[in-house]
């Protein structure tokens, strides 16, 4: 039977560093803004999430009503 691979503290730190994370850093919960882009588009997306939308409006769109 194959023995489970031993994960050393050093190997874990290297894996985390490769993923752009630091050992021991708390992970933010994946909430409403998970995956949201940083910068201008993040702000734009945040603004449209805040805007009130009428429930009866569908996203299908015709240019010449």
């Amino acid at each position: 039977m194959k023995r489970p691979e031993r994960i050393t503290r050093r190997a874990l730190a290297a894996s985390l560093a490769a993923a752009g994370l630091s050992a021991g850093a708390a992970q933010a919960p994946r909430g409403a803004n998970a995956g949201a882009p940083a910068g201008r588009l993040r702000l734009a997306a945040a603004r449209i999430r805040e805007a009130a939308v009428n429930k009866n409006i569908s996203p299908s769109f015709r240019f010449i009503p």
Binding site: A36, L41, R42, P59, F63
Partner: protein, 425 residues
């Protein structure tokens, strides 16, 4: 801006056509004279990517033969023009399509093909930022095409407008621009920088010339999903006179108010949509351009960062933006019920403004109206400063004739190039 064309006949399409038809100017002599300054611009960093002189000379020879035997095809016959590299031109690999192996088999985009059909002569491919500068958001501008027209090197040019980039370029460089109702011009062969936003737009020296060009390039096309199935016919003489219109001035501008009063235009109150039109436009454009140009963005300057941001937008964000877009469209329809034209003064400070921040602070109703008009697919006309402020105007979809008649009258009122056009209405 002083007119410095290599040939004075390039000042207007009507004047140019008169010179060609009367024989005072030969089409090949026109192409040779127009090509010289364009070749000087065809340097790294210049406004022109390529001058299509040989091809234009052959087409000009055909025009001379046609005119010699009395065959006329309208005001665009023999007129040289510029095309942004975001529109496909036969025999040239599209700059925006990394997948296109070479130029063999590449055809014209629909607007260019329609212009060739009336023997207009594509003479220059104008330079555009990589992918139109879509990664720059509201700093994107079709400067090169607008500059070539504003300096009188060509009577008109076609460019691709996806977020007001052509409108802003015209206002900054000093020429006119018409962004037509979305779908009026086929999108076939036009860089799909936003499937529901990007359209071919016209840059010219007067409202009348914009109308003449749109008349030829519009029309139904089964290859274009948004085609309304009908063409635009330039007939401003049948549109309502300015004195029968009501306009809403989006921001106070005394010179514009005086021009509107001189024309007898009725004034209506303006109130904004109260919706984040700039943010909605940014999200929809990033979603559509990011999906369509993922591989091209990887290698464009700043493209990788933009792509990472665009990929972070969720389907929920796009759907919400599209629902807000419907509300913005409804607002514009309601505003168009009170005023036939929305008139927006434009200052140079707007070109470098952070639009998102300005809209959030309710500091830029002009930015909001520009974004709202693009989202609703409404026609926009940009007029350079001529004895007053630069401005742009918005009308309801398919009301281009009303918009152009109004713009011609405003040009005449401010001493611009539209005087001749107004006299004939």
């Amino acid at each position: 801006m002083p007119f410095s064309a290599p040939l004075p006949e390039l000042a207007s399409l009507a004047g140019l056509n008169g010179a060609l038809r009367s024989g005072r100017l030969k089409a090949r002599a026109l192409v040779r004279a127009a090509a010289e300054p364009l070749k000087e611009e065809a340097r790294p960093g210049g406004a022109v990517r390529e001058v299509l002189e040989d091809e234009a000379m052959r087409a000009a020879h055909d025009v001379e033969r046609e005119l010699g035997r009395g065959r006329t095809r309208g005001l665009l016959q023999g007129a040289p023009f510029g095309v942004s590299e975001l529109l496909a031109v036969a025999g040239r690999r599209p700059a925006w399509d990394a997948g296109a192996a070479d130029a063999r088999g590449a055809g014209d985009s629909a607007p260019v093909a329609r212009l060739r059909g009336v023997k207009a002569l594509p003479l220059a491919v104008t330079a555009s930022p990589p992918l139109g500068g879509v990664t720059d958001g509201f700093l994107a501008s079709e400067t090169a095409a607008a500059s070539v027209v504003a300096r009188g090197l060509l009577p008109f040019a076609l460019a691709v407008d996806f977020n007001g980039n052509v409108i802003r370029a015209a206002l900054a460089q000093g020429c006119c621009a018409l962004r037509p109702t979305f779908g009026a011009v086929s999108g076939y062969g036009v860089a799909p920088l936003g499937w529901t936003l990007a359209t071919a737009a016209v840059l010219a020296r007067s409202a009348e010339d914009c109308g003449v060009v749109l008349d030829r390039i519009s029309g139904s096309d089964s290859r274009s999903p948004h085609s309304p199935g009908r063409a635009f016919h330039f007939a401003p003489q049948y549109a309502r006179a300015p004195a029968q219109l009501r306009a809403a001035l989006v921001q106070n501008d005394e010179a514009l108010k005086a021009s509107l009063a001189r024309l007898g235009v009725g004034m209506a109150e303006f109130s904004g949509p109260g919706l984040p039109a700039v943010a909605v436009l940014d999200v929809i454009l990033a979603s559509e351009a990011g999906e369509a140009f993922a591989s091209e963005l990887e290698s464009a300057p700043g493209g990788r960062e933009y792509l990472a941001e665009a990929a972070g937008l969720r389907a929920f964000d796009y759907l919400r933006a599209m629902r807000l877009r419907r509300q913005i469209q409804a607002w514009l329809a309601e505003a168009a019920g009170r005023a036939d034209i929305l008139v927006v003064p434009w200052g140079p400070a707007r070109d470098s403004q952070d639009w998102l921040a300005a809209e959030a602070a309710s500091a830029c109703p002009a930015c909001t109206v520009l974004a709202a008009a693009i989202l609703a697919g409404a026609p926009l006309f940009a007029s350079p400063a001529a004895g007053g402020s630069a401005w742009f105007a918005v009308a309801r979809p398919q009301a281009e004739n009303t918009l152009l008649r109004f713009a011609s009258a405003m040009e005449a009122a401010s001493g611009g190039g539209g005087a001749a056009a107004v006299q004939q209405f």
